[in-house]
């Protein structure tokens, strides 16, 4: 049985977990190709114009899987913690797909609502597993394997392995090598620029906060991270902060919880700024994102409080590359003229 997984939104957070789960149940995962112009255009053609870019991208990926898979996996992740919720688009994701892409294969859409208790989530997962096997113990085993894989993935990210390399690792090896030490073949830290010869100053460090599905979709963000690296900047991304540390920083910053992922982004920014690990702060949002539109306010305040220069980049499907390059260069030039944070202290 082939399960289609759109390479968008939650994919960047949970693909290893899903893959391990479906592998253990004997299903094959088919991931849609990396985002390209056709995917965005197809997705955007289905919705009204004021939708956010990530949703258009998601729909495009859904459409690119039509005819190639038996089922489409579109989980409904309502809440993941007691005090914060997910955005309305994420909470309506399967319904949006069903209504906007009626030709899509049947959906597998377990509802995860941790505010309703873990039992509800367990029931949803069992229900999902029933499509593959009648043996609940086999589902239980698959869940255990999936959770172990997810933990391994999280550990990799906390060690500084960038998301694309980590995802590629799990894609290549599946979940078969859990427990063994995980080695990543590619350069583990592409966020680090080549050592600048002859310069005495340490490289500039920039904290880049944004949703993983924006930061690592190179079509959407025009290779933002690569561009920063080639400008000689060391990039620290938001998901490299372990969630526990980010939450701790959040509690210190005193910002109230409302949306899960926004909470994590503000937490990551707080972490980098309070640890003095960033000479500059860049946020990357997409036009029309409701939660981010208000979150920016928190990030802006943080940057002002710590006296760190702040650049906000808003992306939509029309973003011109030249404009982005100019802004990045200007920002990095400006950072370069300022004294380094380490120099001050």
């Amino acid at each position: 049985m082939r399960i289609g997984i759109p390479r968008a939104l939650f994919y960047y957070h949970y693909y290893p977990l899903w893959r391990a789960f479906f592998d253990a149940l004997g299903a094959t995962c088919v991931v849609s190709p990396p985002t390209h112009k056709g995917i965005v255009a197809q997705g955007a053609a289905r919705v009204t114009g004021d939708n956010c870019l990530p949703l258009k991208v998601y729909l495009g990926h859904v459409l690119s899987l039509v005819g190639q898979v038996d089922y489409l996996f579109v989980p409904l992740i309502r809440t993941l913690e007691s005090e914060a919720e997910n955005c309305a688009r994420l909470r309506g994701l399967p319904d949006l797909v069903r209504s906007l892409a009626p030709e899509a294969p049947p959906l597998l859409a377990p509802e995860i609502n941790l505010q309703a208790g873990e039992r509800q989530a367990a029931a949803a997962v069992l229900d999902l597993g029933r499509r593959f096997t009648l043996n609940p113990l086999r589902v239980k085993k698959a869940v255990d394997q999936a959770l172990a894989t997810h933990q391994a993935y999280q550990n990799m990210l906390s060690r500084g392995v960038p998301i694309p390399a980590a995802l590629a690792h799990f894609d290549a090896h599946g979940s078969g090598r859990i427990g063994q030490s995980v080695r990543v073949e590619s350069d583990p830290r592409p966020g680090v620029p080549p050592a600048s010869v002859g310069s005495e100053r340490p490289p500039l460090r920039v904290a880049l906060v944004g949703h993983a599905y924006n930061l690592y979709d190179e079509y959407v963000n025009h290779r933002l991270i690569g561009r920063l690296c080639s400008l000689g900047v060391e990039v620290r991304t938001s998901e490299a902060v372990p969630p526990a540390l980010a939450h701790e920083s959040m509690a210190q910053a005193g910002v109230h919880r409302y949306w899960t992922y926004e909470h994590e982004l503000v937490g990551a920014a707080t972490y980098y700024l309070s640890q003095g690990e960033a000479d500059g702060l860049i946020s990357m949002v997409t036009f029309g994102c409701g939660p981010d539109s208000v979150m920016l306010e928190s990030i802006q305040k943080l940057a002002a409080r710590y006296g760190v220069p702040f650049l906000n980049l808003v992306f939509d499907e029309h973003t011109g590359e030249a404009g982005l390059v100019t802004r990045l260069e200007a920002f990095v030039d400006m950072l370069d003229r300022r004294p380094r944070r380490k120099d001050i202290s």
Partner: protein, 366 residues
């Protein structure tokens, strides 16, 4: 304590009697104007929705008038207004205002009413029962008069008669102090509205507004949509009335017999449960109301309102199956008056023509 609140339709009409009866002073903000929006646009995040900006402007203008306590619209519900409350408070303090604030959410109006009442009086609800009953009586009376006005405005022989009566009514309502006053007020102005000369020859079409309550209720934001429609001979109704949003005895809903249960049944094939904001109600109500004998539906939403955009997109598919036409209107701070009028006129023409065609089909030999 000088209590203020943002504008939301006729909130400014019936909240002051309630606040006064608690022994506090009510300081409503001046009616929303261009200045209000400019203040909001200057201080709120650029990409936030226009209602957030308007409401922030209301707070500033209320505090300028000397208010020291704010009932803030928002609260939980996965809508950015709830997320904004903290920022709005911080910003207002940054601007140098000193005040106390209590959030009020329309999502859970009765529970929040209890909380707001507790905050204002420091006593449990029962001790302020008289004030609450006054508030509910005022809401019902004001809503009833507005509903009647929507009927007469579409039919009035002399343009503006209805609105003249309404203006007087809202001023009179603010002077009400007891439930007897409210009863007198209601009787007087119902009679006044019924006395408006109607033109029996007008070809009336009936339209119901669905979508975001703020956009439906705020006549500054929706550019006097109801008046514009009334002038075109459209009798307007709304899915959302402030008076019925407060249901102190939701027994029927618990038993699954209330209106909300119907909405849930209608929405469930399209949406698996509440997703935040009023999206769930929008989907359910759109489906219910499209089958309730209206000639057309208008879905109102602020530009970029996440829950309403989801509802709108989920309903795109339903538009083809709906028995009556549905018009989507998204408002932002730049919406142009002429553009809105053109779209409304075109929509009303379409509805009239459909109605005429249906009538022709019934009498083929006429």
């Amino acid at each position: 304590m000088k209590v203020s609140f943002p504008h939301l339709g006729t909130l400014y009409v019936y909240l002051p009697p309630y606040i006064t009866s608690l022994g506090l002073e009510a300081v409503p903000p001046p009616l929303t104007s261009k200045r209000t929006l400019d203040i909001g646009a200057r201080h709120c995040p650029e990409m936030t929705c226009t209602p957030c900006k308007i409401i922030f402007g209301n707070y500033v203008e209320a505090l300028e008038r000397g208010a020291d306590t704010l009932i803030m619209l928002g609260g939980l519900g996965a809508c950015r207004l709830g997320y904004s409350i903290q920022h709005q408070q911080d910003k207002l303090r940054e601007l140098g205002f000193r005040f106390r604030a209590v959030p009020f959410s329309l999502m859970d109006a009765q529970a929040d009413l209890v909380r707001v009442n507790q905050f204002l009086t420091g006593k449990p609800l029962l001790s302020a029962l008289g004030s609450i009953r006054l508030l509910i009586a005022a809401m019902r009376a004001v809503d009833g008069i507005e509903q009647l006005a929507l009927y007469t405005r579409a039919r009035e022989a002399h343009r503006g008669d209805t609105d003249r009566v309404l203006n007087e009514a809202w001023q009179a309502a603010a002077r009400c102090q007891t439930r007897e006053d409210i009863r007198d007020f209601e009787q007087t102005y119902r009679a006044r509205l019924k006395a408006v000369t109607l033109d029996p020859t007008r070809d009336i079409v009936r339209v119901v507004l669905v979508g975001d309550p703020f956009t439906i209720l705020d006549s500054f934001f929706n550019m006097n949509l109801e008046k514009k429609l009334g002038a075109l001979g459209v009798e307007v109704n709304r899915w959302f009335w402030l008076g019925s949003s407060i249901n102190l005895f939701p027994l029927k809903d618990w038993l699954g017999l209330g209106h909300y249960s119907q909405v849930r049944r209608a929405a469930s094939p399209y949406l698996r449960g509440d997703i935040g904001g009023f999206a769930y109600s929008t989907v359910g109500e759109t489906i219910l109301l499209s089958r309730s004998g209206y000639d057309g539906l208008i879905h109102l939403a602020p530009f970029n309102c996440t829950p309403e955009v989801v509802a709108e997109n989920i309903l795109l598919d339903y538009h083809d199956r709906s028995p009556v036409p549905i018009l989507n209107l998204n408002f932002d701070e730049h919406t142009s008056d002429a553009g809105l009028s053109t779209r409304l006129e075109a929509f009303v023409d379409l509805l009239r023509r459909r109605k005429w065609q249906a009538a022709q089909a019934e009498q083929p030999c006429g």
